[in-house]
């Protein structure tokens, strides 16, 4: 990805299965991903591509039927998947924090926002309650909530969806984490609120100098916000590069098709919209060869028998396709 040698998060060769009655679902296969310090990395993919599994693994929040078959999630060089519970507690919420998709369910409905924001500062024994409240109010002001001192006494249902997502972001940033993981943070919001949240995330990166791992299926938002992009398809990284590599010079046929399908990118009005024919493959019995071969307009014989590997195209730009490289 980037030449910067010291990424804050480094996912190496990660493979994860889900155990199901039908057999193991190969949800992630040999995924590599780096989040450089101060950088914003976007993970793009459609439903079932493994985006959510990837970030749950990064936070070690995987459900019970998930099985890590190989690889590591290195946060500052330490493997999150293998550290003891005490060290994990020191990491989560403090050095890496998460903003979830749905701001309606990520806040506790029976506690006031102030109580929740004071409670999550439980590690800080030197500061009293009033000081923690002031800190919470400062953070709410920072994310654009007017009259924060008064609003701390309100309950989540008294805020709009956009305001609740701002509160969730404020809570995630309370300990000034090195890495913020945002899972489709604007999906539940209207477009004018979405624009404000994206603008806020950009400002916060500048002010707090943290890194962001941004997961989305919305290509427009990724283009607006991210420095680097990783494209996931059916559990594999098919392409990665800088945001300009991906949007201006995509090399993997899936990335190209995904960009073509976005109606927001069509210059001329047309009734017949482009699509990607076919369905996502069955991940219980993945076919040999390239995972995208079935739906790929450019597939040839080799694609159906031999799986391509991620091949470097330029500085940090790589694609997993037989048409790329030698």
């Amino acid at each position: 990805m980037d030449a910067s040698a010291d990424p804050v998060l480094s996912i190496r060769d990660l493979s994860i299965d889900f155990v199901t009655p039908r057999g193991p679902v190969r949800a992630l296969r040999r995924v590599d991903l780096d989040v450089p310090r101060g950088g914003i990395v976007g993970v793009v993919g459609e439903s079932g591509s493994g985006k959510t599994t990837l970030i749950l693994a990064a936070m070690r929040l995987l459900p019970g039927n998930a099985e890590v078959r190989g690889g590591a999630v290195l946060f500052d060089g330490d493997d999150v998947l293998r550290m003891d519970a005490k060290r994990l507690r020191g990491l989560r919420g403090r050095r890496m924090a998460m903003v979830f998709q749905d701001p309606m369910t990520s806040l506790n409905p029976v506690l006031s926002v102030g109580t929740q924001m004071v409670d999550i500062q439980y590690r800080d024994r030197d500061r009293g309650r009033p000081a923690k409240r002031r800190r919470a109010a400062d953070m709410l002001r920072r994310v654009g909530i007017p009259d924060p001192e008064q609003r701390l006494d309100n309950y989540p249902h008294e805020f709009s969806g956009g305001m609740r997502q701002r509160i969730a972001i404020a809570m995630a940033l309370l300990d000034n984490p090195d890495l913020l993981i945002a899972d489709e943070p604007t999906t539940a919001l209207d477009v004018t609120m979405e624009a404000q949240i994206i603008h806020l995330l950009r400002e916060l990166r500048r002010d707090f100098r943290g890194s962001i791992l941004f997961v989305s299926h919305n290509l427009g938002l990724v283009a607006e916000l991210c420095d680097f992009v990783v494209v996931l398809y059916a559990g594999e990284v098919v392409e990665r590069g800088t945001v300009r590599d991906i949007f201006h010079r995509p090399r993997h046929p899936y990335t190209e098709a995904l960009l073509v399908c976005d109606p927001a990118r069509l210059d001329t009005v047309r009734r017949e919209l482009p699509t990607i024919p076919g369905d996502v493959p069955d991940l219980v019995h993945p076919a040999p060869g390239c995972i995208f071969a079935d739906r790929c307009a450019k597939a040839f014989d080799r694609c159906r028998v031999e799986a391509p590997t991620l091949t470097a195209i330029g500085d940090g730009h790589a694609a997993s396709c037989h048409l790329v490289g030698p």
Partner: protein, 348 residues
Amino acid sequence: MSALLEVENLRVRFRTAGPVRARLAGIADPFLDAVLDVSFRVRAGTTFGLVGESGSGKSTLGRAILGLVPVHSGTIRFDGATPVGTSDAAFAGFRRHIALMFQDPVASLSPRLTVKSLITEPFVIHGLGERDRDAEARRLLDMVNLPASFAGRYPHELSGGQARRIGVARALALTPKLIIADEPTAGLDVSVQGEILNLMARLQRELGLTYLVITHNLAVVRHISDEMAIMYMGRFVEHGPTAAIFARPAHPYTHGLFAAQPRPDPDRRREQVELQGEVPSLAHRPSGCEFHTRCPWAQARCRDETPRPRDVAPGHALRCHFPLPAPSPYPSATVREREGPAASAAGG
């Protein structure tokens, strides 16, 4: 072409407090207007796009046309002169000609019924149970490009796109004239979204259907609709031919909505957010022009005087004292296709 659906001065209000509570609490006006002074017509065989943010009243308007929420005042005419929403008996006959595609495809399908039961249920409801339901199911599945074997499946065995197709098939069951589609592509991946919209376009060509599409997705409205309206706090703030509105949005809210669209081009990121804040509560409607609290161009007159609808071009109407002469900020108009290294280096 004649108008299939005509709506005039429609108003839908909801009660916010019961009569006793309103009296005790001293609430003079215990109502809020979800739809206010809405007039438009949809020509047969065309697609009308209804755009707005959550709470703008777009779904309520769709439901009022279907008779699912009571109309306070105004008229809805369907296919000629007969008013919709008068008596239940007169209305039942019309319901056959108007179908609804629900917002959440999976939740709108009963999990215990097979696809066959789901798509042929309208025949039973409308007393047409004597028809051959197997043959009808095959016919409907064929229309939405699904194999006949799907008739025996249950909703949990369907993907999101397939569930949408079943929703389309069910809407088509009684060969309606008008289909009201509430967020037909919400929650779908972009590759599947195109399939559903293409299917809807093909059915429109083949069956002469008329669509009223309710959505917040501007990119979709731009491609599929002939005319569109933008709703804000229950009113049509701008309304006219889709191409004209995208070329030259004249209402500041439309302008702000277009500017808020994410731009799928990393070299053209927005530096500023044009529309700040959020939609005010319907219970506390701002005076004058409802948009003046968020409008970057608001002046004193906007606070005091409610703008009347007026035409800026034939068929292109808006409610604004000071229409914008600005060019369209809609991002797609500026997107360049794949470009050479020189252009992207300049952007970096």
